[in-house]
Amino acid sequence: MPGLEDLYREIILDHYKNPRNEGEFPTPPAIKAEGHNPLCGDELTVYVILEGSVIKDIRIAGQGCSISRSSASLMSVAVKGKTLQEVDRLLSIFKSMMSISTNTSGETEAVDPVEYSERELGELIALQGVVKFPVRIKCATLSWNTLVQALEDRAS
């Protein structure tokens, strides 16, 4: 059985207790999307301020468990100031890291594995242990899916 230390790395607890980029932005200028974790009811809103194709700023509001909130906080740090193309790449890498147990767990997204270096992941690597706890994967991916939603809503 994987231990708690696999899940609750220090970085995670830090981001959970001191979430970065917490709050809201007025819309517009921000775009926003709401995400639900159907398994537990956690809700999260992601606000993004785009400047051209760069994520100028991001804020996150809502409730959640340590994994969902720390993942959101880590994501906000990782994508802030990045171009949409860079964010796309990060998203693929992150999903790839989270999809190790895709076929046996309840996860449905068949993610094509992506080659990546640990350096590219940066602090996000702290969430690697989550894949050993398949039910919690949805917690870790909620903020990312909500970000994608926000960007897609804008497009349409």
Partner: protein, 417 residues
């Protein structure tokens, strides 16, 4: 099989636990299973009844002339009788309908009532504490037919607010209400509400999923017209649910699903439905599951539902006391303070620790509690939380389960503190 002593004595839990193989985990670790409100464990007697059936008697029911098929039919139909008697049904052989779970039982009703009984603008009354199983079917009917749904709201003590009940029930066509909340534990005054609803000419549906497994049930005393419940929460297998209904009402409703066994005749142009209860049982039913559920009922009756209720009340009062004395201000326990108004369910919030994290950390000590919205999102909003942690009991639980819960919670507090 254990006989578990006389009527008046408390349950002998250590004897009972011997009947439940799950408590001998392969890795030898202790299992403190506090999630029976989600699904109960099964005694060997239930597994053996199903295995015996498969190993000696299996054949499809109702249509075969040969001995195996006849015996399978007899076992299946006599499970129906057993279940009917367990809830005091006046006419089990016509009124007990086997479904796949309580959810199907309620969908059967919402679907069938939507085809003739309910019309645009008609009022269906639910409560704010319903499980999604007793919300979404009616929300679908609302989408399709344009019915109006009214809610009996929940007060700050976890009871239904009945102040304006006459108004809420006025002109109601249906009142569908849970007998016991899977989150708050609240046991609702269903017979009183049924009487009021009947005065308004409404049909009354009870969701007994959290009640029938724990409290002696008599449909006539409850005064409901329909009762839905589910096998897997009452020591029975997965894959089986029950709908009880008054014959006259069942007779008047159109069938839900179409297929084998539910017809008298079929032509290329139309069909005529079968008699009760088969009219509502399309296709091959959950045969082994009905037989397993019959064995579960034997097991429960052998212990005695009154003793089971006593046992759960004791655990409930010990559990609430221990949680409050150990964690005081850091814990919020939802639901009525008077344990006599509660089922064996304790939902709680822990200051600054999300239920997911609590459940995960408790699991390291072998303590199983549920974390989440418990399929009652509207109630969660009322409570102002996204999720709660929930410990729930059945006959195999004892004080040591609660002690383990307290120890593990203390660890979680230290970890996140």
């Amino acid at each position: 099989m254990n006989t578990h002593g006389l009527e008046a004595k408390p349950l002998n839990v250590s004897d009972i636990r011997k009947d439940f193989p799950i408590f001998s985990q392969p890795d030898g670790k202790s299992l403190y299973f506090l999630d029976s409100a989600a699904s109960s464990q099964k005694p060997l007697q239930v597994l053996n009844a199903m295995d015996n059936y498969y190993c000696t008697t299996h054949a499809n029911v109702h249509r075969g002339v040969y001995r195996l098929a006849e015996q399978a039919t007899e076992l299946y139909e006599s499970a129906r009788g057993k279940i009917g008697r367990f809830i005091g049904a006046p006419n089990p052989s016509r009124e007990i309908i086997f479904t796949k779970n309580a959810t199907e039982s309620i969908n059967l009703l919402s679907n069938s009532l939507s085809r003739g009984t309910l019309k645009r603008g008609d009022v269906v009354v639910l409560t704010e504490m319903e499980h999604h199983a007793n919300l979404v079917p009616w929300l679908i009917a609302k989408e399709q037919l344009g019915i109006e749904i009214r809610y009996i709201m929940v007060d700050e003590n976890g009871y239904l607010n009945l102040d304006n009940i006459d108004e809420v029930l006025r002109n109601a066509k249906i009142l569908s209400i849970t007998l016991a909340s899977n989150v708050l534990g609240t046991i609702n005054p269903v017979s009183q509400l049924a009487e009021l609803a009947h005065k308004n000419g409404a049909i009354v549906i009870g969701d007994g999923a959290q009640f029938v497994p724990h409290v002696a049930t008599n449909v006539t005393a409850l005064g409901v017209d329909f009762l839905a419940f589910t096998g897997h929460k009452m020591l029975g297998p997965t894959g089986i649910g029950i709908l009880w209904g008054k014959s006259a009402l069942l007779d008047s409703l159109p069938p839900f699903m179409g297929g084998g066994d539910m017809i008298t005749d079929v032509t290329l142009d139309g069909f005529s439905p079968n008699e009760l209860p088969w009219k509502f049982e399309a296709g091959t039913p959950p045969i082994a599951e009905a037989i397993g559920l019959g064995a579960a009922i034997d097991y429960l009756e052998n212990l005695g539902m009154d003793r089971i209720r006593e046992h759960e009340l004791e655990l409930l009062s010990y559990g609430i006391e221990m949680l409050e004395s150990n964690f005081g201000e850091n814990i919020t326990i939802h639901g009525p303070r008077n344990i006599n108004d509660r089922g064996g369910v304790i939902s709680f919030d822990f200051k600054d620790i999300h239920p997911h994290d609590i459940s995960q950390i408790l699991d390291q000590s072998g303590v199983c509690v549920r974390a989440g919205h418990h399929c009652a999102k509207p109630l969660m909003r009322h409570l102002g939380v996204a999720a709660t942690a929930r410990a729930s009991f059945h006959i195999y639980n004892e004080q040591s389960d609660i002690d383990a819960l307290i120890d593990a919670l203390a660890k979680a507090q230290a970890f996140f503190g």
